[in-house]
Every structure is written in structure tokens, then in C-alpha cells.
């Protein structure tokens, strides 16, 4: 059967499934809309969290980025998994015990102040919007690449689907859709990876395969290091970034993960405290399946790429090369007119440009897999983008309807009114996100790192100290959050968008990249909060009791 038909069938079937789930699980109260009525079983919540977490970038781009950066790519692998340890140990159980709807809820109540709540809403909205714009773009790109529609129609189709199930189903609908989406995306990612691992190393487990030897008896990683050296690239298993920067970026991504509102809120949806711990464990397990496979895929495809193209006659390259050349993801320019492909580090001699995304997208063709596998990849990439977009959408709508309207502007709003407001703000948010997806501001790519830095610099210290220190007060928390987020915004806009005089990597403070700066801003947040709290009145006994209560296990 034709590839296009296969793709329409798998994408159509998966969308029908998501919509059917949304109709069956639609929300009828604010509790169901915001936190699925606190009735989600831990394993299901783990899968939903994993799908929520793994975006189009994790699915399509991450393995490619690792394959071009080798060891330096480890910052994403450790950074985007290690945060779950922090979540499970330091945040999730206590926030669940607190038992409200949103992250600003916790900040506002624990720091007995609507200013703190307002600052938290501001941070939540900034973090979520920077993130969702990238996701809608991702949906558009996937549609256009696989279904041959233009990006604008792709974004619009994606918007309608998300709109339908997020607005109708709320958190309850999203959760069970995400469970289905996790299954689709992990199957789509693993299938080609397993085939390629078997093809290259004879081992069906990619995690072991990339540490084994190929058919020539040489260890794959040793061979790749050799190839990279030969062509003038850095050695694959060692990096180029400074050790300090690798350290700080990893820390910023870990702490940022633990501070992302759309991840935290997933732990509000389970029945009891022990279930919150369990779902963090399941979530990380489900995420680790993809995250330990990605570096293997990176090695297989990097080796494969070099061996297939380096110093080979352009005319004799395999068919997949021509096909992806047509999409512009690979381009070849015969600078020295010898008809061979020179793929080297030196930009003056190098004749080949390769987009990182191709490392995952072209996998099925490189491994010569049937068309239906490619179709499943398309469905998997869409599942990854849609599930993340939906989770973010919910955070935005609950920030507006619950934290802003119910808690700050109009406390006497009825539950029905609040539910309508929640749905309307979801509609508004998705339209805004779609607008940014169609007209992406130039900084979309840069802002994903921004979102982590911002979350690390603002939420994480305020939440952790709210739980682990009874003495932390509103003055300390608010000034810490403000200093953290403003400093982070300043540094990112200065070095990413050239505001405040701009500058390049030579001007970085202590050589810290903007991606790693979140760690620094977070430390400063801690220091400012603690210092300010020493000179201002401690919270009253009511708040200390609240903290005491959060720390204690279930009463049931």
C-alpha cells in the first residue's frame, strides 16, 4: 500500500481514539477539569506524565542533537530525567498532601499572600506559553512533513483536535488521552530503534547494542570516535563544552523539570500521597525507556551517516538520501567538483549539511522498514506534540480561571461559572498558541531552554522552602522569586535576543551559557529568600501548622 494512505490511516485511527476517549471521560466539575477528580491510578498517571513530558522535541530532535554533540548531549539525558528524582523526593508527595488545584494555589496559600499568588501565576503563564508555542509549531511541522499539507493547515488541524479534547475533557480527558498517546509514541520510537540495533550489532536491545561490536568486531563507540577524529570532529565520547557549563546546564534542566507547572500538576490527580510517589516512579520508568534508547539511536545513525556518505560518490548514494534531500533536511554542494561527498568538520571544505531531525525521521528508511512503520512514526510524533500541548493548555486555562478569576478577581464565582471560564480560557489559549505556531517568533527554539531556566529560577526554591522550612515567609519567597525570574529573563534576553546591549559567549558571566544560567539564578533565589526571611517576621502559627500537616502521611 502507498505510504500516504498508510499515514492517513494510522493518524486518522489514532485521532479517532483520542476523541473517543475524550468523549467518554469528559469533565463535569471543576475538580474533574483541573485535577481529574483525584482519581487517576498511579500507573496511568505515570504514563500520562511521560506523554505530557516528552514533546515533539524529545521524540524527533533529541536523538539527533545527541548524535551531533556526543558526550555533550548528556546534559539533556541526565537533565530531563534527574528532575524526576527531585520531584518524587522533594515535591510531589507534599504538594499532593496539600491537595489543591494548581501550583500558584500552593504558593499563594503557603505564603499567605495574593502577591505571591500573582507572581506565581505570572511565572506559570510565561513558562507555559513559551513552551506551548513550540509544541503547536511541532504539530504543524509533523503534519507538513508526513501529510504534505502546508504548516498553517497542519497547525490548524492540530489546534482543532487539542481544542476538542482539552476543552471537553479537561484534566480527566487529557489524562486518559495521554495514556493512549504514550503507548503510540513509545511503540513508534522503539520499533525502528530495535530493528536498527539488530541490523548493526545483532542485539535487539538498543541500550546494550550501542556498547557492542559491529560485524567487523570493532566496538561501535571506538569506531565512531575514530571516524569523528579522522574527519576533524570532536571525539564522540568526550565533549567540547566546559565542565562547569555541562554541570550547570544539567542542573538547570533537572531543577527546571521539577519546577514545571504542567508536570507538577499531574501529581495532584492521584488519590493519595503514596500514589504521588508511585506515579513519579512509573513516570520516570516510562520516560527512561525512550531516554536510554535515544543515545543508542544517536550512535547508530551517526555511524551510519558517516559510513554511508563520507567520501562516497554522490551519484551512488542510497535512495533515502535523495528523498530527504528533497525536503531540504540534507543538502549537498560539491565544492571541489570531484563528485564525492566530503563530510568534515572544517566548514570551508565540508560539503554536506545535515539537520539533526533527520536522525530519527529517516531511521525507518535507513533500516529499510516497511511503509506502515513510517506511518506509525508519524502518528507517534503527533502524539508526542499533542499530548504536551494539551497538558500546557490546561495549566494556562486553570491559571486564568482558578488562580486569577476565582482566587483573586471574583471569589464569589459559582462552580459552573468557573468551569465555563476554564473552558473559555482554554479556547483563548489554544488560539493564541496556534497563532504563535503559524507565525513563530524567531526565539521559539531559544525559549524552550528559557522555560526551564525560568521554572528553575522561580518556582523550585519557593516550593521546596515552603515544604522544608517552617520559617520561610512571604517577604522572602516573593523577593526570591522576583529576583530569580527577573535575573534569568535579563540574562536570556541579553545573550539570546541581544537586548540590554547583547553580547556573545565571550561576555558570558564566568563562562556560564544562558542555558546553564538558570542554576545560578536559582541559587540566588535561595540566598535572597533566606536573607530576607531572616529580617522579616516569621509566618504565624496557622501557616506553621499547614506545613506540619503537609509533612505528615495520609490520615486515612
Amino acid at each position: 500500500m502507498e505510504l500516504q494512505n498508510w499515514i492517513w490511516i494510522t493518524v486518522g485511527l489514532s485521532f479517532t481514539l483520542y476523541i473517543a476517549i475524550a468523549i467518554m471521560t469528559r469533565a463535569s466539575s471543576t475538580g474533574e477539569f483541573y485535577i481529574a477528580g483525584k482519581g487517576v491510578p498511579p500507573i496511568a498517571n505515570g504514563m500520562a506524565t511521560a506523554a505530557d513530558w516528552m514533546s515533539a522535541a524529545s521524540f524527533i530532535s533529541m536523538a539527533g542533537i545527541i548524535s551531533f554533540n556526543g558526550y555533550d548531549g548528556s546534559v539533556y539525558l541526565m537533565g530531563w530525567t534527574g528532575g524526576y528524582v527531585l520531584l518524587a523526593l522533594l515535591l510531589a508527595p507534599y504538594l499532593r498532601k496539600f491537595g489543591k488545584f494548581t501550583v500558584p494555589d500552593f504558593i499563594g496559600d503557603r505564603y499567605y499572600s495574593n502577591v505571591a499568588r500573582g507572581v506565581a501565576v505570572f511565572c506559570a503563564l510565561i513558562v507555559s506559553f513559551t513552551y506551548i508555542a513550540g509544541q503547536m509549531r511541532g504539530v504543524g511541522v509533523v503534519f507538513s512533513r508526513y501529510l504534505e499539507v502546508d504548516i498553517t493547515s497542519g497547525v490548524l488541524i492540530g489546534m482543532l483536535i487539542v481544542l476538542f479534547y482539552a476543552v471537553l475533557g479537561g484534566m480527566k480527558g487529557i489524562t486518559y488521552t495521554q495514556v493512549a498517546q504514550y503507548c503510540v509514541l513509545i511503540f513508534a520510537f522503539m520499533l525502528p530503534a530495535i530493528f536498527i540495533s539488530f541490523m548493526v550489532t545483532g542485539n535487539v536491545i538498543p541500550q546494550i547494542g550501542f556498547g557492542s561490536a559491529g560485524s567487523d568486531g570493532v566496538y561501535l563507540l571506538d569506531k565512531l570516535d575514530g571516524l569523528q577524529r579522522e574527519l576533524g570532529f570532536h571525539e564522540y565520547t568526550s565533549g567540547r563544552k566546559s565542565r562547569l557549563d555541562v554541570f550547570l546546564i544539567t542542573a538547570a534542566l533537572m531543577v527546571g523539570t521539577a519546577g514545571l507547572p504542567h508536570v507538577i500538576v499531574r501529581f495532584f490527580t492521584v488519590k493519595k500521597v503514596s500514589d504521588a510517589r508511585k506515579s513519579a516512579g512509573w513516570a520516570l520508568l516510562f520516560i527512561a525507556i525512550l531516554y536510554t534508547t535515544a543515545p543508542a539511536v544517536a550512535v547508530f545513525s551517526r555511524t551510519n551517516l558517516i559510513e554511508t556518505v563520507s567520501n562516497k560518490a554522490y551519484a551512488a548514494l542510497p535512495e533515502w538520501f535523495d528523498k530527504w534531500e528533497a525536503t531540504g533536511l540534507i543538502s549537498y554542494e560539491d565544492k571541489n567538483q570531484d563528485g564525492l561527498v566530503q563530510y568534515v568538520a572544517d566548514p570551508k571544505i565540508n560539503e554536506l549539511k545535515v539537520d539533526a531531525d533527520i536522525m530519527v525521521l529517516a531511521n525507518p528508511e535507513i533500516a529499510d522498514l516497511p511503509n506502515w512503520v513510517i506511518a506509525i512514526m508519524a502518528a507517534g510524533a503527533l502524539a508526542a506534540a499533542l499530548s504536551t500541548a494539551a497538558g500546557l493548555l490546561l495549566v494556562i486555562s486553570s491559571s486564568v480561571s482558578h488562580d486569577l478569576i476565582k482566587k483573586m478577581i471574583k471569589p464569589d464565582v459559582s462552580e459552573k461559572g468557573e468551569l465555563i471560564a476554564a473552558r473559555l480560557s482554554a479556547v483563548g489559549a489554544v488560539m493564541l498558541a496556534a497563532y504563535f505556531g503559524i507565525n513563530p517568533p524567531g526565539f521559539v527554539a531559544a525559549t524552550v531552554a528559557l522555560a526551564f531556566g525560568l521554572a528553575a529560577a522561580s518556582f523550585f526554591p519557593a516550593i521546596v522552602m515552603g515544604i522544608f522550612s517552617k520559617k520561610m515567609n512571604k517577604e522572602g519567597a516573593v523577593s526570591g522569586m522576583l529576583v530569580g525570574i527577573l535575573l534569568m529573563l535579563f540574562y536570556m534576553t541579553k545573550f539570546k535576543f541581544g537586548w540590554f546591549g547583547g553580547g556573545d559567549d565571550k561576555d558570558w558571566w564566568l563562562g556560564i551559557s544562558p542555558e546553564g544560567f538558570g542554576s545560578f539564578a536559582m541559587l540566588l533565589n535561595f540566598v535572597v529568600s533566606i536573607t530576607v526571611s531572616k529580617f522579616t517576621p516569621a509566618p504565624d502559627s496557622e501557616i506553621q501548622k499547614l506545613v506540619e500537616n503537609i509533612r505528615n502521611p495520609d490520615e486515612d
Binding site: 558526550y71 571506538d222 568526550s238 565542565r243 554541570f247 503514596s274 520516570l284 527512561a288 502521611p553
Partner: protein, 82 residues
């Protein structure tokens, strides 16, 4: 009250131990000590590289499940005492 205190202290002890392991395998083995560990090899992996791209993640998963086990046991003790 006393038992609530013990419960919290024990929890903090678990946190310190588990987070030290968390820090050691990722920031320690995967980043700060990576060059030293890369002198050793398991199969085709240099050890430091393996920790950075595989080992740390496996340990993370194990750490959370160990914490789940420890806390469930602690919750049970706490409940029995009451």
C-alpha cells in the same frame, strides 16, 4: 507529636542518603569524574560516558522505587503505632 517528629526525621535521613547517590552518579560520575572513569571500559562503553548517557538514568529510576518502598514501610510503622 513525638512520632510525627521521628517520621519526619527518618524521611529527611532517607532524602539525604538518596539525594547523595543521585548527585554522585550524575554530577559526580557523569560530569566531574568523567575523564577519570573513562579510563575504564565495560564492554564497548567508556565508564564515564556510560554513566552520563545510561547509568545515571537507571540509578534515578531505582532511587525513586527505593524511596517508594522505604516510605511505604515508614507509613505502615507510623499507622501501626497510632
Amino acid at each position: 507529636m513525638n512520632y510525627k517528629n521521628t517520621y519526619w526525621k527518618t524521611n529527611l535521613k532517607y532524602l539525604v542518603i538518596l539525594l547523595s547517590i543521585w548527585f554522585t552518579v550524575s554530577f559526580g560520575f557523569g560530569i566531574l569524574l568523567v575523564d577519570t572513569l573513562n579510563q575504564f571500559q565495560i564492554g564497548g562503553f567508556k565508564l564515564g560516558f556510560w554513566f552520563a548517557q545510561q547509568g545515571a538514568i537507571y540509578v534515578f529510576v531505582i532511587l525513586i522505587f527505593v524511596y517508594i518502598f522505604l516510605m511505604n514501610r515508614l507509613d505502615q510503622k507510623f499507622k501501626n503505632h497510632k
